[in-house]
Symmetry: C2
Subunit: 291 residues, 2 copies
């Protein structure tokens, strides 16, 4: 069976923009807009698509898969808003449009990020799934989103900026900063099906995929142009960011990313019914390295 | 039975400083310190004490009550760190010491707040309680901490600053900004005991208590001195903040606060076994209005 990916993204976007307004009722207009603006700015929706296709391994309904995708996308968006703030990465553009704080000011941007973190847990708490699976999802989302994943990765990124570091340290940082949310994307459907052993393995595959993803992103920052990447290129070097490209150089970095990518897909292909997800990940590779 | 409140605070602090390091393992030293610093700066631990005494209405163990107190205190601390940021309230002092961003910089302060929000859900997910009660707690914490409570209150505070407003609007804002977490403090033990109807009523009492608490806090900002309140006084007027004192004047505002306080305690005293909590709330009133 072959899928039309654009069609799934369209259905996913319909799903979130039908459901989100209910969660954003009774909010001041300007704040509502700051959240809606950033969620609509969109991006490629890669994480929700991964959840969608990993769901095909566990026979879950599209409804629950889109809900999981929505809450992961919300968490991802929260982290982008805070990362882009002047005190952290100081980015003026994201996904081709001005960043949240450029449009709505820093105060609302900080609070938009905070509100979205809480919102992801609110949606999680209301999913129609087994209670034990839900407990596990809350644990995984809080660990991998927070101090054992994404937030820890941001912290390392901030603290390593302008310092020297080992390749190994950057890989650990990438695994946290980018790998953790991909870990969640790969394991969420398995958890909903209470397949906890498989979830553990899928999480690790997701982390490796995330490391590759981040290296490709770094390469784009150097050789990409604004039209394609949607943000100002060349910022990593200018800000003296810790990147793998800085340590290994472009071609070795690309080789390492390809290794992580292949390793992730190889391990994944050993799972029963993983064909659709493998095919999807293969098909987007050109998108990830496109400049 | 009469309690020694200092003794309970001491035991609570022991509890959190024994348990927290486990959750903060494997974090960069400086970030660990930013979190520890702010949690240790302390404050009066009023919310954990409310949970402790409300637990006496439902025969819960001290262990679980201290865990609930810990996660609420963590959420409260997260909101203080973000509120104090230059883009929001721009406060240099809190609880008598320099604020988190003054000591560790804005980037780490933003990420300390984020990390603490995730941490509170991580601790929640690991509580040893009934799964249905846990699902309900995650829902309540995410709603009242986020877009249907605390974060919404902060947003209103920011957007109302420098504008004119009705008394009713400020009361709604106080109910969100301060009342929501007190709502959680009052209802958390009831939820753990699956007494959901009682939880609903206790939540509303907590919100009213929180409105009184916030008005007393506003009055302190005007007539208090640094030694007593631990932060720079007079900031609300200087920043043109929306406060009830601004609308009603000092003595009418104090009268309104007393009304909310009495109403909360009156309704609470109708609950079976609420004596210890009522006595505690009566005893701290002098502390809340102390300047």
């Amino acid at each position: 069976m072959s899928f039309n990916y654009e069609d799934i993204v369209r259905r996913f976007n319909e799903h979130i923009f039908k459901k989100i307004p209910h969660y954003l009722e009774d909010l001041p207009e300007e704040y509502f807009k700051s959240i809606e603006y950033t969620l609509k700015a969109g991006g490629k929706r890669i994480r929700p698509l991964i959840i969608f296709f990993s769901g095909k391994m566990f026979s879950l309904s599209d409804e629950i898969l889109f809900d999981l995708g929505m809450l992961l996308e919300i968490l991802h968006t929260a982290s982008l808003i805070h990362d882009d703030l002047p005190a952290i990465d100081n980015d003026d553009f994201r996904r081709g449009v001005p960043t949240c704080h450029k449009v709505f000011g820093e105060a609302l941007a900080i609070l938009a990020g905070d509100g979205l973190i809480f919102l992801s847990f609110e949606i999680l708490s209301k999913l129609s799934i087994d209670l034990q699976a839900k407990e596990r999802l809350v644990r995984e989302f809080s660990e991998l989103g927070g101090l054992r994943g994404m937030v820890r990765g941001e912290v390392k990124d901030v603290l390593m900026t302008g310092r020297s570091f080992l390749l190994e340290e950057i890989i650990k940082m990438y695994e946290d900063k980018t790998g953790a949310l991909f870990g969640l994307a790969f394991e969420a459907a398995a958890i909903c099906s209470r397949e906890y052993d498989k979830a553990q393995k899928l999480k690790q595959i997701g982390k490796n995929f995330g490391i590759a993803f981040q290296i490709f992103d770094d390469i784009k920052d150097i050789v990409g142009d604004f039209e394609k990447i949607g943000k100002t290129p060349g910022k990593d070097i200018k800000q003296n960011k810790p990147t793998i490209v800085k340590v290994l150089g472009l071609s070795e970095a690309e080789k390492l990313a390809n290794d992580y990518y292949s390793k992730a897909l190889q391990t994944l292909s050993e799972f029963h019914n993983s064909h659709d997800l493998v095919e999807f990940l293969n098909s987007i590779k050109s998108l990830l390295i496109e400049r």
